[in-house]
C-alpha cells in the first residue's frame, strides 16, 4: 500500500490560491523532500496530508493515506489516523513536548491511543523506542532537562511509536545546531530505511534536501515546479588587507554561575577585527558565540581580560565617553520580530539609537529615519506602520535600518540570517555586502551556516565550549580543518 498519494490537490483561502493542482506520491521506504520559499504552500500541503486545514480553506482533489481517501473519513477515524498512521515531527521540539509530563509518559500516551498493547508491554515498548532514537535516558525525566537535539529525538520517538507507514517532518532540524542537525537527519534516514516508512520532509534548506532525499519536490506559489532549484555555489569573497584594529578581545574569560556550578562561557579568547573586515564566529549552540556577541556589544562584561572598541575599554569607559563608545556599535538579532517593541511603530523602532545623540529636532529625527529606511530599500512611508505588518525579510531590513541609523563602525549579527529562506538570504547577503562597501562597515558575524560564512567573512573563529579551536582566513580554516571537532561540524552541514 502506498503511504501517501495526493492527486490534483488545490487549496484556496478566499481568493488566494495556496496550492494549485498538486500531485505527489510518497512510496514506502522513500524520502521525499518538499522545498520552496516561505509562502510557497509547503505548510498547506503538509496540513492537507492530515486533513488539518483550517475550515475556511476550500479544497479540491484527493488525498489518500494507504489507499483510503481521508476526506471521506469521519473525524473519529481521522484522529486515529493522525499520530497512528501518520507520524508528525515539528520544527520546534520545545513546544511539541508537554513540559509537565515525563518523556516516558508522553511516548506511552501515543501507544495507549494507537495500539492494543497492555500496560507492561507499553512500558517495554517505550524503553525500546527511547533506545531506538538513540536516547540512553530514564523515561522519568522531564523535557526541560534535555537539549534541543534530545527533545527532537523524543518527538521522533512519539512520531514513530505507532509504527506509522508515513512520517511527516516539518523543518525537523531548523531549530537545532549543526551537530544535532546532522545526527537528527541520520536518525530519520535510518528509521525510514529500517521500518519501510515513507518520509515527507518539508524544508527550505536545499542542502539538507540534497543530502537526504530520494526525490526533491519544489513548490513555488502553490505549483509544483518541474526542476528542483539548484544550489548557488558559494562565491568566496576576496580577502582584504586588514586596516587598524577596531574590535579587540584580549584574553577574555566570562564565567556564569548557575547555582553552585560555574560554567565558563568563554575562556581566554583573544581576537582582533580590523576596520572594514568581516569576522565570522562559528560553533555549536552553547559554545559561547552569543556570550562573545554580548561582550562585543558591551551588554555584559568579562571576568578577566579586556574588550575594546577603537581603543576604548567597555569596562572603564564612563559618561559621555561611554555614549560615544556606544555609537560605534550596533546589532542585528536573530529574530527581528522579537527585537522590536510590539507597541512601537517602525519609525519609533528605527529611531531608538538616536537617543545616544541627546536632544535632536523632530525634523532631523524623521529625516534620519527616512534615510536609514532608504538605505535598506524600504520606503519612508513604512515608518508609520507597525512591524507586524511586514514580512520576515522586510522586518530584518527594518532591524538593519535601526543598526545603521547612527552610522556605526561595527555591526554585530547574531545568527541574523539563519531564520530566512534561501531567496531572502540571498537578498540580505547582497544588501549587507553593498552596505559594507559603501559605508566601510565592520561586521562581526555569528553564524552556523558555513555557506554564508564563506560568502560573507574574511576570517573565521571557531568556538568549542568557550575555547577558540581554530582561527584564520576562511579558506584556510574551513577547507582543510585540522581539528577533528571542526571537521565533524563541517561534515554535518556540507
Amino acid at each position: 500500500m502506498i503511504p501517501l498519494e495526493i492527486e490534483h490537490l488545490s487549496v484556496r483561502y478566499g481568493d488566494t490560491i495556496a496550492l494549485d493542482d498538486v500531485c505527489l506520491r510518497v512510496e514506502a521506504g522513500e524520502v521525499i523532500a518538499l522545498v520552496g520559499p516561505s509562502g510557497s504552500g509547503k505548510s498547506t500541503l503538509a496540513a492537507a496530508a492530515m486533513d488539518l486545514l483550517p475550515i475556511e480553506a476550500i479544497e479540491q482533489g484527493v488525498v489518500r493515506i494507504e489507499g483510503t481517501d481521508i476526506r471521506t473519513l469521519p473525524e473519529s477515524r481521522l484522529q486515529a489516523l493522525r499520530g497512528g498512521r501518520v507520524g508528525i515531527v515539528f520544527q520546534e521540539p520545545a513546544t511539541a513536548l508537554n513540559p509537565a509530563l515525563t518523556i516516558g509518559s508522553q511516548i506511552a500516551e501515543v501507544l495507549q491511543l494507537h495500539s492494543e498493547l497492555s500496560r507492561a508491554e507499553i512500558i517495554a515498548e517505550t524503553l525500546r523506542l527511547l533506545t531506538r532514537v538513540g536516547l540512553d535516558l530514564s523515561p522519568d525525566i522531564y523535557p526541560h532537562a534535555l537539549s534541543g537535539g534530545q527533545r527532537q529525538r523524543v518527538a521522533i520517538a512519539m512520531a514513530i511509536a505507532a509504527r506509522p507507514p508515513l512520517l511527516l517532518a516539518d523543518e525537523p532540524t531548523a531549530s537545532l545546531d549543526p551537530i544535532a542537525q546532522g545526527e537528527i537527519t541520520a536518525l530519520l534516514l535510518s528509521l525510514v530505511r529500517d521500518g519501510g516508512m515513507g518520509l515527507l520532509i518539508v524544508t527550505h534548506d536545499l542542502a539538507l534536501a540534497r543530502r537526504v532525499a530520494d526525490r526533491i519536490v519544489a513548490l513555488d506559489q502553490g505549483r509544483l515546479t518541474a526542476n528542483a532549484p539548484s544550489l548557488t555555489a558559494p562565491v568566496p569573497r576576496a580577502p582584504r588587507a586588514g586596516g587598524e584594529p577596531l574590535l579587540v578581545f584580549d584574553g577574555v574569560t566570562r564565567t556564569y554561575t548557575a547555582g553552585r556550578r560555574h560554567v565558563a562561557a568563554l575562556s581566554g579568547i583573544s581576537l582582533s577585527v580590523a576596520r572594514g573586515e568581516t569576522l565570522a564566529v562559528i560553533g555549536a549552540s552553547g559554545s559561547g558565540k552569543s556570550t562573545l556577541a554580548r561582550l562585543a556589544l558591551g551588554l555584559d562584561g568579562p571576568d578577566a581580560g579586556q574588550v575594546t572598541i577603537a581603543g576604548l575599554d567597555w569596562a572603564s569607559t564612563r559618561g559621555a565617553d561611554l555614549r560615544a563608545l556606544r555609537r560605534h556599535v550596533q546589532a542585528v538579532f536573530q529574530d527581528p520580530g522579537a527585537s522590536f517593541d510590539p507597541r512601537q511603530s517602525v519609525a519609533q523602532i528605527v529611531a531608538e539609537p538616536l537617543h545616544l545623540l541627546g536632544k535632536i529636532s523632530a525634523a532631523e529625527r524623521s529625516e534620519r529615519v527616512a534615510a536609514a529606511l532608504d538605505q535598506v530599500g524600504l520606503s519612508p512611508g513604512a515608518g508609520a506602520r507597525l512591524p507586524q505588518a511586514f514580512s520576515g525579510g522586510q522586518r530584518q531590513r527594518i532591524s538593519i535600518a535601526r543598526a545603521l541609523i547612527l552610522e556605526p563602525d561595527l555591526i554585530v549579527f547574531d545568527e541574523a540570517l539563519s531564520a530566512l529562506d534561501p531567496q531572502l538570504r540571498e537578498e540580505m547577503v547582497a544588501l549587507l555586502q553593498r552596505l559594507q562597501a559603501e559605508l566601510g562597515l565592520t561586521y562581526l558575524f555569528i553564524a552556523h551556516d558555513m555557506d554564508l560564512v564563506r560568502r560573507m567573512a574574511d576570517r573565521v573563529l571557531v568556538l568549542r565550549d568557550g575555547h577558540s579551536i581554530a582561527t584564520g582566513p576562511v579558506a584556510s580554516v574551513l577547507d582543510a580543518p585540522r581539528d577533528p571537532y571542526l571537521a565533524a561540524l563541517l561534515a554535518s552541514t556540507e
Binding site: 556589544l297 555614549r323 556606544r326 517593541d341 507597541r343 531608538e352 539609537p353 537617543h355 545616544l356 535601526r402
Partner: protein, 265 residues
C-alpha cells in the same frame, strides 16, 4: 452581551455616584421620624428607613463613598505598587529581594483586620478607609508589575534599547510599562471590586464614611434588627453592593479578553 451589560451597569452606578454629589431626589440628611418605615409610595419610590429618610436617595448617595473609596484605594495601590514593581524588576539582586520580601510581609497580614486597625488609629472616615485599603493594594501591584516586567526584561527588544544607551529607568518607562499595561488593567479591575467590598465591610462596622453621608455598608448594619419588619432596608443596599461588584467584574472580564487574553483567568 455580558461585557456590554457590565460596562452599562458600571456606568449607571458611577453616574449615580457623581449625580449624588449635587442632587438626590430627597435630602438624605433630613430626619423625619414621623414618616419612618413608610412603604413604597409616589413621593418615596422605595419607601423610607427607620429615621424617615428617602431610601432611593440613600441608595443613590451611597454609591459615592463606595466607589470613591475603592477608586482612591486603587490609585494609591497603583501609585505605590507599580513604581516599586518596575524598580524591583529593573534591579535584580538586593533591591529586588527587599522589594519582593517587603511585599510578602505586607501580604502576610490579614488585610481587612489590619485595615480596621489603621482606621481605628487614624480615626474613622472615608479618606482614612481609602488609605487603609490602598495600603494593601500596594503589594498586589508590586507583585503583578514585578512578575510581568521580569518576563519582558530578557526579550531582545530590551537589548536593542540598551544598545541605544537607554538606562533602566527610561527602559522601564518606555518599553516595560506599555507592554505590561494589559495585566495591570486586569488586576486594577480586580482590586477595584475588592475595594468596594472592603469599603462595605469597613462601613458596616462604622469605620468608613461618617453620618450624615449615607453608605451602603452602614445602611445594612443600621437596619439589621429590622430585617423582619422592613427587609428592603437590608436587601436593597446589599443588592447595590453586589451589583457594583458584579458590574466591575464583568467589565474586568471584557478588559481581560481585550488586553490580556493569555492570562485565561
Amino acid at each position: 452581551m455580558r461585557r456590554w451589560f457590565g460596562s452599562v451597569l458600571l456606568g449607571l452606578i458611577a453616574a449615580a455616584a457623581l449625580l449624588s454629589a449635587v442632587w438626590t431626589p430627597a435630602d438624605v440628611a433630613t430626619i423625619d421620624v414621623a414618616h419612618r418605615l413608610q412603604s413604597v409610595s409616589l413621593s418615596h419610590p422605595l419607601g423610607t428607613d427607620q429615621l424617615g429618610r428617602d431610601l432611593l436617595s440613600m441608595l443613590i448617595a451611597g454609591a459615592g463613598p463606595s466607589l470613591g473609596v475603592a477608586v482612591l484605594a486603587l490609585v494609591i495601590g497603583l501609585a505605590g505598587g507599580v513604581p516599586l514593581g518596575l524598580l524591583a524588576a529593573a534591579c535584580p539582586g538586593w533591591v529586588d529581594e527587599s522589594v519582593a520580601r517587603g511585599a510578602d510581609i505586607l501580604f502576610a497580614f490579614p488585610a481587612l483586620v489590619l485595615a480596621m486597625l489603621v482606621v481605628a488609629v487614624l480615626g474613622p472616615g472615608a479618606s482614612h478607609a481609602a488609605l487603609a485599603i490602598g495600603l494593601f493594594n500596594i503589594p498586589v501591584f508590586v507583585r503583578v508589575t514585578r512578575a510581568s516586567a521580569q518576563a519582558i526584561w530578557p526579550r531582545d527588544f530590551i537589548l536593542a534599547a540598551r544598545l541605544a544607551g537607554k538606562g533602566r529607568a527610561l527602559i522601564s518607562l518606555e518599553h516595560i510599562l506599555p507592554n505590561i499595561a494589559g495585566p495591570l488593567i486586569v488586576q486594577a479591575t480586580l482590586q477595584l471590586s475588592l475595594g468596594v467590598l472592603a469599603e462595605a465591610a469597613l462601613s458596616f462596622i462604622g469605620l468608613s464614611a461618617q453620618p450624615p453621608t449615607p453608605s451602603w455598608g452602614r445602611m445594612v448594619a443600621d437596619a439589621q434588627t429590622l430585617i423582619a419588619v422592613a427587609p428592603r432596608l437590608v436587601l436593597l443596599p446589599g443588592l447595590a453592593i453586589a451589583a457594583t461588584v458584579l458590574a466591575i467584574s464583568l467589565t474586568g472580564d471584557g478588559l481581560r479578553e481585550r488586553f490580556a487574553p493569555e492570562t485565561g483567568l
